[in-house]
Symmetry: D2
């Protein structure tokens, strides 16, 4: 067996904690050697739970630890570029959760840091690409099973049951296009193999007035035309009547692939007075549990096997540019060209 990679993980929020647990328990060829968060008490608690030898409250300190081979960045989005640079400059491989950062300018800084360390593995975490169903769809498209890709439709719907937490987070989320649609934009680029050329984004406040104050929407969509002529349609909302729904459909000239969330929670069908039904995943962490494991596993395997990941730093910048263009289109009401 290959040597065990020693990983330091930054950020212990909801998703950061998930990543920490996954590295400690489910990723093979790696171990969780250090954790870092500004909340010292949380750091101590998680270190105890997961048996982590080194703990930090400052990323700049952690990256100096000579035992560490790689850094996993799950800090707040606005620090991503900074932490990426710290990690790479310290000679560590680096995995960063999406988005690359919160502005296109800072994305460019991350690009520079990556380019300055071509011998290091850098990977961006678009975890949907590592879900079994999405991965199989990509393989079938690449194999030509559905002909030319014509339209990618992708929905990201959060359950209304979690609306309270969502509303609290809303002012810091960057808005629907930057927080939610980035996943769909990445999928559209990935499945079409093309870049977003023109966008028209519309939406509105159908229920929660807070979004109006934020110049945002609780339900919105964006239509995009790609530079190879293919089309994309995204819809996102915070008020899905059932659980977490992420569905993506790829229509080709010879066939269609659909990945929906229906019945996804497990294989159970329930027949009762409401008919025959399947329940949804209650939230995104349960939906993408295995994909989050798979993506870190891929990062670790890339390092251990000397490969480069399929998701690059440039994917992060391209997606952010397109998301900002959608946001601008939504705000101005105009169809815009993305250059």
């Amino acid at each position: 067996m290959a040597k065990t990679l020693k990983i330091g993980s930054v950020g212990l929020g909801r998703l950061g904690y998930e990543h920490a647990k996954n590295i400690a328990n489910y990723v093979t060829g790696a171990e969780l050697t250090a954790i870092c968060d500004t909340d010292a008490a949380r750091v101590a608690q998680v270190a105890e739970e997961l048996n982590v030898p080194y703990t930090y409250t400052d990323v700049a300190e952690m990256v100096k630890n000579p035992e560490l081979d790689a850094i996993v960045v799950v800090s707040p989005s606005m620090f991503h570029a900074e932490h990426i640079k710290l990690a790479l400059d310290a000679g560590k491989h680096c995995f960063c959760d999406k988005p690359l950062d919160t502005t296109v300018e800072k994305c460019k800084l991350a690009e520079k840091a990556v380019e300055a360390h071509p011998d290091k593995v850098f990977m961006l975490g678009f975890m949907r690409r590592f879900d079994d169903s999405y991965a199989e769809a990509k393989r079938r498209i690449d194999a030509g099973d559905i002909g030319k890709v014509v339209l990618v439709r992708s929905y990201t719907q959060d359950p209304r049951t979690t609306i309270e937490g969502t509303l609290k987070f809303a002012p810091h989320s960057g808005g629907q296009y930057l927080d939610m649609c980035v996943h769909d934009l990445d999928l559209i680029r990935w499945f079409t193999g093309a870049e977003v050329k023109r966008v028209w984004a519309i939406g509105g406040v159908f229920e929660f007035d807070l979004y109006r104050e934020l110049n945002d929407a609780d339900n919105c969509c964006a239509t995009v035309q790609l530079d190879n002529g293919a089309m994309g349609f995204m819809f996102t909302n915070r008020t899905h009547g059932a659980g977490c729904n992420v569905e993506t459909e790829i229509i080709g000239t010879h066939g269609t692939l659909r990945i929906a969330n229906v019945g996804a929670k497990n294989l159970l069908q329930i027949v009762d007075g409401s008919g025959a039904r399947e329940e949804y995943y209650p939230d995104f962490l349960s939906r993408w549990h295995q994909a989050y494991i798979n993506e870190i596993q891929e990062f670790v395997s890339c390092i251990n096997e000397g490969r480069k990941p399929g998701v690059t730093v440039y994917d992060g910048t391209k997606v952010s540019q397109a998301a900002y263009r959608c946001k601008e289109s939504f705000e101005t009401g105009e169809m815009l060209v993305n250059e």
Copy 2:
């Protein structure tokens, strides 16, 4: 266009009225010329509604009407053989709803009546055979699509929402095996092309004590072995948690066909707090609406085109024999040979 067949229909109960409406409105090449029921007021009411010129309260009188070409029998089951004989002896073609009659002895009388009039069309109403899905399954089996038929599993489940009417009807129904399983037995014979050789039937009273008084069950099943080695499994209950559920599965050596009721009511999928769901048909009349039309249409077309129907009087006897054997097995607890 062929000449229009003149039909007299016997019985204006729930299903008899459905047949009368179908003949009057949806069956081509035929018209409803006479109706008969012991309830004179009901006869008058339906005649007015459907514009029927001749009305009767006595079947023996109706069959003397020289204008009539054919008789449709939807009277209570215990009169079927008698009415079939009356119709055929009067020189009319005859369609009879299932079952052929309530005892094997009376089924044999019906057989004799049919044999005495080989020039007349006689057809027994196993309407499931005339449902599009069942008809297509049969075509695929005959085409060899699933190899040899190994197992036919068939469920007949009534919704608990209609339990009140069901309990009232229970003492006169003949019991689950004769009232419900006859449909499944006909399908098992039809899809396997074989006869029932051995049966073991079990069941019990899980909720409604009335069935115990009747020496019957509210939930019961029967396993059968056919004379070509194929197998059949039936389940029937009166307490289905959702609507009307009739589902049939045919497992072959090379493939499987399934006809289920799920989502059958129409194509609507509803996503709400209960998940993603499809509703069931509320009752058997809505489930089989088109099949009831199709079967009378086939009867009319057989007469108009000089063909013989695929469902014979012998199918009625064979099914009744097997159903009685199941009932006996249920009552004695023994596995029985059907001879």
Copy 3:
């Protein structure tokens, strides 16, 4: 029973013949008394088959027949307004298949003809509204089951298996937006209860060069914003990998309704080497068979019961206007306001 309405039907093309058969065989309270087509041989053939007493090759002649109560117009689209006016001016009720006509100007002429005869029933044939699944979706929306309507997504996909005939018809079809999207536009207006305000339509030629010559697309979509803030997305193509697919999804603030074509052909599920699968309807006539009957039935019932249909002449004009706006957006590449 109400008096039987006498109908004269114009046009015996593929759909016209379907309507003629439906009136003759399945619509209650009406009979097919006259047919008209420029092809005299076809008229004679259908009259023989369906037992139709009066035959014509000129609509102006047919509408003079004093026995007729109503005219059903299924002539080529460019004659619709003219035939509507002929029928109404002759004192007949009138049903017209979609679209109302081929230009907004001619739609306005039809409006005037209808307004001149307020005592006559006029109904436009958007048959999807009369499909059981669509009708139930509308009832649930009106009952508030899914909250406010946020997005209506509607696809109209023709199977590639019928591409040969489609290509022949393409030069006379009016293009995807006028021929296909009019159905989706009607549904979007119906389900949202609002009018199309802004449109952006994109598409391309992914496979069949003929569409490039016609300044049309073989795969295209349109995004619309309605005047109440709701959104609509349409996609249409001529190259669906499986059979006829029409699917519509209505996302509300509290729930979602989906009407898809999958498994629609019937209830049969086939398990074989390809997995577990349901087949599609092979073509639009089989998909909408019952809806075509239902719409004429509604027209007849409106007349016989003194009611006015829910689909008005103005629906026809509004849909055509929006479709032309989509076409213009597709041709110019611009997002356009629909006024």
Copy 4:
């Protein structure tokens, strides 16, 4: 974090290797400290791959290793009771894959060994109980969601694509009832909370003559009546037209739960010329991958948390007794009482 349990695993066949990998990589709170197999070369290879410090070719030697806390038995079924006794007598906790052993007599020996060491954790591996869907079904039944359990129907179907290996294994498998139905029997007992009272088992050779020579069947079923009046139906075959299909349905007096394999491989729906379809898992190892992890995880957690597992040694004996009774019924053609 709790101390890490040290596990020695016996047997490196297809499933034994799967268990070894799971313990080494995915089970938390435990590590794979020793492996044992009669094939020394295989032991060396797996030890290298999974970094296992101790290796053995003799179970009796391995259980002497004082570092080991627990033994996982995945040796050939005929050695299960012997290895269980060796492990427990050596003071180790013990997990044993199903079946408990190959005869009821040897099952009783295992029972005695377990009873002699009440302080040790013993767990039998019926992994289906640890699949998320099955576990949720059990929770819902226990919560009374579907009322009283009336019928459990359970299928175990192997894909015909793997028939070659299946035929090689057939002479040593114990036959369909002991090799396949034991899973279904365990589920029927688990979901009904009752014991098998009467059985009738039928089947036949529909395709592969080898099974006739073995006095076995390639397609067979068994109907059982439980001592509380509930019913069970099992079907098993080696010739499933698609992939691995395990489906279980629990019909209660107020609702039904279904766990099917359709669309289980992942969430991908494929639309092409064959219709809209979902693929099956290709084999049982991919179907139950996570369940195999979960069951060992439960075993480890029981030890670390001082709990006793829900699957006992007596479950193993009861299932074997019922399976033998089914086999005897199949061979004699009689309905039999299970005492």
